[in-house]
Symmetry: C2
DNA sequence: TTTGGATATGCATGGTATGACATATCGTCA
DNA sequence: TGACGATATGTCATACCATGCATATCCAAA
């Protein structure tokens, strides 16, 4: 089947976002916070993680505050002071959350890609 | 396994968005346009569809213009004038696009829900 | 040939998200 | 014990986008 769509299909880029919210739809965890949590733990520093991802410290700090407020317990071990200025790593719960989201995301990634390919086929 | 997360898990709502864009990341088709396209065809009217979904006519009109500009051919048959003021229905291509997105969305819906349940289980 | 209601489009404005800036606090190590 | 650099937090400016308002255009039916 030849359709008018054919020549445009390769110009289409697929995007998607998954996130979780509380009852009031205030964002809790999404791709952004997930990434930054992972990188914070890897680098041992909130600031360093922000710098690398190009996020502002101010904003990220607010995001992390929200997610911890929602759960009611810390996901991060934050330390101020010291010669290095401070450091931040994930708590056990933080690691658990990130790992769960890792798995979720990986399974969704694969499926969405497959579904998108079918979508394109259907338009050919 | 009993974790600190347990009591909060039921308060978490899952959301996701799928959309397509051109190379410049200008939105082409997403949940909003998909819904409105379907409803326009059903109602035979752009205005009626906007009213029902609570979208502004002004905005929706702009959205539809973008998607048609991207594809380079009409997805809608728009008629002005007449006693009824005018009417709008999908072209063959419009229907084809909506149907393809219908299928895509349905398959993703089911899969994401399943993945989310596993995510919750992992946190228990 | 007039009327009515939907399509079509420009523009002004106001609210919100975001970033930029400022500054306080902390604690370890040299 | 003082200096350093990261954590922690308030505030203000602004850029963006959604919304609303206004208005032009069209044509079938009465």
């Amino acid at each position: 089947m030849e359709t008018k769509f054919r020549e445009k299909l390769s110009a289409i880029n697929l995007h998607y976002k998954i996130w979780m919210s509380d009852k009031k739809d205030a964002g809790i965890l999404g791709d952004g916070k997930w990434q930054i949590l992972k990188l914070i733990d890897q680098k041992g520093s909130l600031k360093a993680a922000c710098d690398e991802l190009g996020y502002t410290y101010r904003r990220t700090w607010g995001d992390l505050k929200k997610i911890e407020k929602f759960f009611g317990f810390p996901l991060l071990e934050k330390h101020r002071g010291g010669h290095e200025g401070g450091k931040t790593v994930l708590t056990e719960e933080g690691k658990r959350l990130v790992n769960a989201f890792d798995q979720f995301h990986a399974s969704v990634d694969a499926m969405i890609q497959k579904g998108f390919e079918s979508f394109i086929e259907n338009l050919k």
